[in-house]
């Protein structure tokens, strides 16, 4: 099912932030790889540098040391192979849904009749075609997040980076949207890396879960997630007996204490 060739390789990545108040050691020696078509979640305590790691993979930030390879090539800036999804949908309220979906193509100067048709097809496949001339505020939170995903998919990335992509939504919407987005990502055959602080979310969506430690973050453990159920989706696998087992193990590894 999964072709075992690494598409993303993170090699000894470390990151230090400089500020007037001193130095923040965010990441310390992180190495892992992600195979084509795989869905990997990264969990860690809040503020441990998960998002920093994603920014480095996307090429928005340069690591202090180490490097990231995508398809064997060293990342030096943003790559066309990578799509990024942020916590909020950030649809621009001055653009129609179609205008928003075409944003990435526009920035890359790639709006052609073909790419436009591709974007329209995505809207068609995922039930937003009739809303293409509407404005974001006329859509529900779930639909907006779906439009945001289509905006990313329109640029045909091979790898999707999801940066807490669901955490701005309320709980019910979040379950529905993560199910929705998961199915779309699988159907489009994309590789995905999801950063989240939600343990359930990370298990429910991923083939593997990478657990990070507190700052400076290192990899504590990598769990391969396998469920006995058929037709696994994020919601259905929450019923699987293994789910709780994974949850407990990751929870213990995160080692979160409420201190007074």
């Amino acid at each position: 099912m999964i072709k075992l060739e690494p598409i993303v390789e993170v090699i000894n990545v470390a990151m230090k932030y400089q500020s007037l108040n001193g130095e923040i050691h965010a990441l310390k020696d992180i190495s892992f790889s992600v195979d084509k078509g795989e869905f990997v979640s990264i969990v860690g305590p809040s503020g441990c540098g998960k998002s920093t790691l994603l920014s480095i993979i996307s090429g928005l930030l340069a690591p202090t040391s180490g490097m990231v390879l995508i398809d064997g090539e060293k990342v030096t800036g943003t790559s066309k192979k990578v799509g990024y999804m942020l916590q909020k949908d950030h649809l621009f309220n001055w653009r129609t849904i179609l205008g928003n979906v075409l944003l990435g193509l526009e920035i890359r100067g790639e709006v052609t009749p073909e790419s436009r048709e591709y974007a329209l097809n995505l809207l068609r496949s995922y039930g937003l075609y009739e809303f293409k001339d509407k404005y974001p505020e006329q859509l529900s939170g779930g639909m907006r997040q779906r439009a945001a995903l289509i905006r990313t998919l329109a640029t045909k990335p091979e790898i999707l980076l999801l940066d807490e992509a669901f955490s701005a939504l309320d709980y019910q919407t979040r379950l529905a949207v993560s199910e929705d987005i998961y199915k779309i990502i699988k159907k489009e055959g994309k590789t995905a890396i999801l950063v989240t602080h939600d343990i359930s979310e990370s298990i429910s969506m991923a083939d593997r879960v990478i657990v990070l430690t507190k700052r400076p973050a290192t990899i504590k453990n990598i769990h391969k997630i396998e469920f006995s159920c058929n037709n696994r989706t994020p919601i259905s696998c929450r019923d699987a007996p293994e789910f709780r087992h994974y949850f407990n193990r990751i929870w213990k590894e995160l080692d979160i204490h409420v201190e007074n």
Binding site: S58, V82, H90, W94
Partner: protein, 276 residues
């Protein structure tokens, strides 16, 4: 309210219809009262002047204002004076907004420049710009150019500060989003920062209309040979209060109309953004 209006009448409950009717009545009552106050003011003014309760030589009176208005009109000067002042004002606030926005873009682009200019902008902002009038007259000459410079001086710094502030408060994640698509700084500006700040820019246009009127009238006080400000100064000097009052009234109407024009422009341009 808007959404309710769009709905067909039959799904409005009687209570809601009653509520809407009451709201409508209230709005009508406010409007009628406003009109009565306005008419009442002019009637009282006229009466007080006719029955010698006030000295119409000093206070003027509505009938005299109408007379001086028609006189001016017959002499063919009325429209000329109005046009000159309006022209100077429009140029003043358009230039103020445009140049202010351009400078704000430059300062947004270069954080270094923004830091360097910051104290100077603060000082210029608190300086009463009217003090610059004589300098403009010496440098540019006693004509419309000086008057426009005055209007510009009053609105420029406020615009720069206001618009730059808007630019800097754009959601960083929105900028990050376009950067993930590989946007350069120019694209960040045109795709995110400028469109997101259209309301800010229109708002400063609104403020600048008012400031430009101040600048233009002050400028006309100082130098001009024509325009409403000139009529006011001239009327005051020859103790012709009819002329002064007439000019002030025209000014009030013209300023209000121009402001409404910008509000209209705002509605057209920002319709999409304020709808949420």
């Amino acid at each position: 309210m808007l959404k309710i209006k769009k709905r067909s009448n039959n799904d409005i409950s009687p209570e809601h219809r009653e509520f809407l009717r009451a709201m409508k009545l209230r709005r009508a009552a406010v409007l009628v009262t406003q009109i009565i106050v306005l008419i009442g003011f002019f009637v009282l003014w006229e009466m007080a002047a006719r029955y010698k309760l006030i000295d119409a030589f000093i206070t003027s009176q509505p009938s005299r204002i109408v007379r001086s208005l028609t006189d001016l009109y017959r002499q063919g000067k009325l429209l000329m004076h109005i046009a000159i002042t309006c022209y100077e004002t429009v140029i003043g606030f358009l230039l103020g907004t445009a140049i202010g926005t351009i400078i704000a873009v430059i300062l947004w682009w270069s954080e270094f420049l923004a830091k360097v200019t910051e104290p100077y902008l603060v000082v210029l902002n608190s300086l009463p710009k009217i003090a610059l009038g004589p300098i403009f007259i010496v440098w540019i000459g006693a004509g419309p150019a000086s008057i426009i410079a005055m209007a510009l001086a009053i609105s420029l710094v406020v615009t720069i500060l206001e618009v730059l502030n808007g630019f800097l408060s754009v959601d960083r994640d929105k900028i990050k989003l376009v950067q993930t698509f590989g946007a350069n700084r120019f694209q960040v500006l045109t795709k995110v920062v400028l469109p997101a700040n259209l309301p800010t820019i229109i708002n400063s246009l609104k403020i600048n209309v008012g400031l430009s009127w101040v600048g233009v009238i002050v400028g006309e006080f100082l130098v001009s040979k024509a325009g409403l400000g000139y009529l006011i100064v001239y009327g005051g000097q020859v103790f012709q209060l009819d002329l002064v009052m007439t000019s002030v009234l025209i000014l009030a109407v013209a300023a209000a109309l121009m402001y409404q024009g910008v509000v209209l422009l705002e509605k057209v341009l920002v319709k999409r953004m304020s709808k949420s």
